[in-house]
Symmetry: C2
Subunit: 566 residues, 2 copies
Amino acid sequence: MKFTQNPFRTTKTVSSDLVSKNAKLLTQASFIHQEVAGIYTFLPLGLRVLNKIEKIIREEMDKVAIEIQMTSLAPKKIWEETGRINTVDVLMKTSGANEASLAKSNTEYVLNSTHEEMVTPLVQEFAHSYKDFPVAVYQIQTKFRNEPRAKTGLLRCREFRMKDAYSFHRSVEDLKRYYEVMKEVYMTVFRRVGLGDDTVIALASGGDFTTDYSHEFQTIVDAGEDTLFIVKSKNLCFNREVAPSQAPKLNDDQEEPKPMTDVEGIGMIGVDELAKFLQIPVEKTTKTLLFETDKGEVIAAAVRGGYDVDEEKLKKVVDAKSLKLASADVVKKVTGAEVGYAGPLNLPDSVKVYFDESTSNRRNFECGANKTHYHTINVNWERDLPLPEQFYDFKVAKEGDIYPETGEVYEVKRGCEVGNIFPLHTKFSKAFNFTYLDEQGKPQTLYMGCYGIGSSRLVGVIVEKYADDKGLVWPKQLAPFTVHLIDIQQHDRGQEIYDHLQAAGIEVIWDDRDARAGEKFADADLIGVPYRAVVSTKTGDKIELKERTSNETQLVTLEELLERAR
Amino acid sequence: MKFTQNPFRTTKTVSSDLVSKNAKLLTQASFIHQEVAGIYTFLPLGLRVLNKIEKIIREEMDKVAIEIQMTSLAPKKIWEETGRINTVDVLMKTSGANEASLAKSNTEYVLNSTHEEMVTPLVQEFAHSYKDFPVAVYQIQTKFRNEPRAKTGLLRCREFRMKDAYSFHRSVEDLKRYYEVMKEVYMTVFRRVGLGDDTVIALASGGDFTTDYSHEFQTIVDAGEDTLFIVKSKNLCFNREVAPSQAPKLNDDQEEPKPMTDVEGIGMIGVDELAKFLQIPVEKTTKTLLFETDKGEVIAAAVRGGYDVDEEKLKKVVDAKSLKLASADVVKKVTGAEVGYAGPLNLPDSVKVYFDESTSNRRNFECGANKTHYHTINVNWERDLPLPEQFYDFKVAKEGDIYPETGEVYEVKRGCEVGNIFPLHTKFSKAFNFTYLDEQGKPQTLYMGCYGIGSSRLVGVIVEKYADDKGLVWPKQLAPFTVHLIDIQQHDRGQEIYDHLQAAGIEVIWDDRDARAGEKFADADLIGVPYRAVVSTKTGDKIELKERTSNETQLVTLEELLERAR
């Protein structure tokens, strides 16, 4: 392509609401254009990269599944059948946009954010007998999600491209077998796009579907929205939400127990402020939160100062379907105090108290006094507070925490989820009453898995990973072009090399503008094509070649350029 | 592909609401699957055809425009800027589907049915100077339209695939030049997909944008929703909506004028019933309709019995922005009669009467008497009714009508619109205040065109055109596979041929099922791959080859098969 054929030129300034590195650079280099937060048009260069990524995904997926193209619009009733129409909190629906349109049809559709509701009845129509399974289908398609925030460029969009696959099996064992196949396929994809060395498989929540973990493919990158807890010795990685966590010990075993006493600290609610006021380490404070369960009970959950309660973990500990923070009224009724002064001492018997393990092994610690503005200090286990039958783990894991099984401190990194695989088990087959007939003609339970890769997100992740302070840097297999040809007032020579490269089937962009050399060089760095080839009066019958990732230039012949670029 | 690798098998019965040939056959052969009326999933075979069509479109479009990928979601404000948010009667919008989603974000978006509102401000951001033009961009993308009826399979969908292109020019002349280029590109596309011989360019309305015609690419096919009026001698084709029409003469010039008289015909409103009752040809009756204009005037429009009033044509004649049929109250007030008995005689002076040319040149004709249940017969021009200054053409053209310029009778055919090109002129550049700076730095008017091809509709049109009573018939370049290989209990031999074809890069589907020969043959016919290759004990070391469109079989060697299929 000639530079002048592309109307979407590079730009120096970008809108100030583009705060992420990938959005900024991809916009400057005109690979994408933000229409509104989280909604991006792919301009010619960006579309070339996206297409290359999707081609790689397609090549690998074709080995294990068959491609179809489902629709974005879905009848509402299939989403009602699974009940997810009310629970998927990013779901969008459509309706006529004006009176004339509504007069034509007032049907509302769901705008699919994921396709389990579509694919399950679809496959059900075709596959009935044990002979028909396993079935695995995939699609590469535009998805819609009503994301509340969209500040990370292509990493989180309201409209984005995704490969999603769904598999159907006669047994858990066959699901597990295929699941492992898919892990391999995914790692191959991430290797092929250039993220293999930086992408790990993290254990994540299986949601409501299963007590199994699901698996996330996380690329280690600072801009990632996820926090990963890595156990090096075990080659194990947890998403923060499921990382079993043990707080580092305080080592205050030698401290003499001091007399327990109540201290007035007016308005002291935050543990940091409180610790400072009491002149004790924050780890000696205790955060006690009251929750109401779906059964109508009030429970208390205590973690050491500096930690937060992970409601998902706590839900499992308490065995509740849902939890919500107790209202101020309930807190007042139960503790006799305003919100912020709850503690495990002297609570009514009806309130069961759960202790996180981080609260154990401490001496002379603080608790809320269940009295407005008052805190009890120098509390000690057994003397003041009976040891609970069990300490739990329901805190949000944080840096410095220990993996309980090996006792080693987690390595903590930021990750961006580039793919996930999910053992759905019977969640959707049961919802649609989808069974298969076995050899005896008896209906049997069907098992499903689902598998996603965010193809447009990958574009953003690769930028976050590879770009440098001069601009984008593309791995050769994804670059919009292989060679960025620049002529410095040598248009004829430029044309000649351009024609040669084109004839050799090498993807080349030729900066054929009548512009300053500096401007052309800066744009080449910004766009990030692997090889920059310059012809000028100085290069004679040679070509000056520079790799984007190197500062060295060398003079090469046309044949050598062709050889390198192939 | 092996037959058994595709979980989506052919089926004998399809849902009774699939009434169109293309929906029926494509569903039976499992190329598509209807999710709900007008919304179709593309199954593996259908997706292969769609992809081949889009590849051809892409190859031709790449020669004249640059590909981008705009989004489906649009901020409402850009649609408000053109006002089309209230007038495009197929427009859809999105919102959160449930409380949790709405709590995250209650922003509504437009779901683009077309992309003028997106592309105009996009190009405006990049192109400013006269040097930057012309600009032409295209995309191939999923579109959404709130169609009221969707009974014609892939010919009219609520969600469908489309190529849309937009061009920007410094002058009308340059727009016209590019417009002609695009005509050529489109005809090349239709030739390449196999519809060249049956696709004509029809003149159609330019809408509110221009007094120019727009141009539709219409494939002549019985299932088409459009009616085309063809002037053979001029190689000219009109969409019915703009066909200048002259009614065939009655040839009653020799009739003696009879005495005008009022006849009672109780409840006789329809012209056919009335003509029968009066024992006159329907052409001697007159249909007079009253309309209210946007200016608040009431006008009358008279056409000969057997014709309908074309409101779009009439709007231009009357020079009104909008027209609506007068209410019963207004009719009563103006004519003194119930609806159905209006006529041009004795109307108040305030009601201007427009006569279609079909009402001229008649003797002893009928008109409504402006008196409930009464009709005036034997009306004659000049004697009873002054000749109007002008007769107009505002009737819906119909078969038998004459093209006024040459006097020849139109050839009338059904067409399906596979593409259209539209001179938008300044409609959108003005709405977005998009100008360019000329050589003197002065802002100048910018001109636009838009150009669409329905890629998924093309799949349906090709079925309508080529399919026969045995099933689908695909042109080689679009067929999901080139060879349909069948082995009759010769699995090893099948495998051998399959491997050879695959190795030669020939797209082959091998029916590797353990099924009856008859079933395999029927499926081959239904799926419609160009070459059927059979190996059985009878074929020895040869292969029985049959083209889908022929009944003859011949025995060929593997080399001959490869040669034919290449």
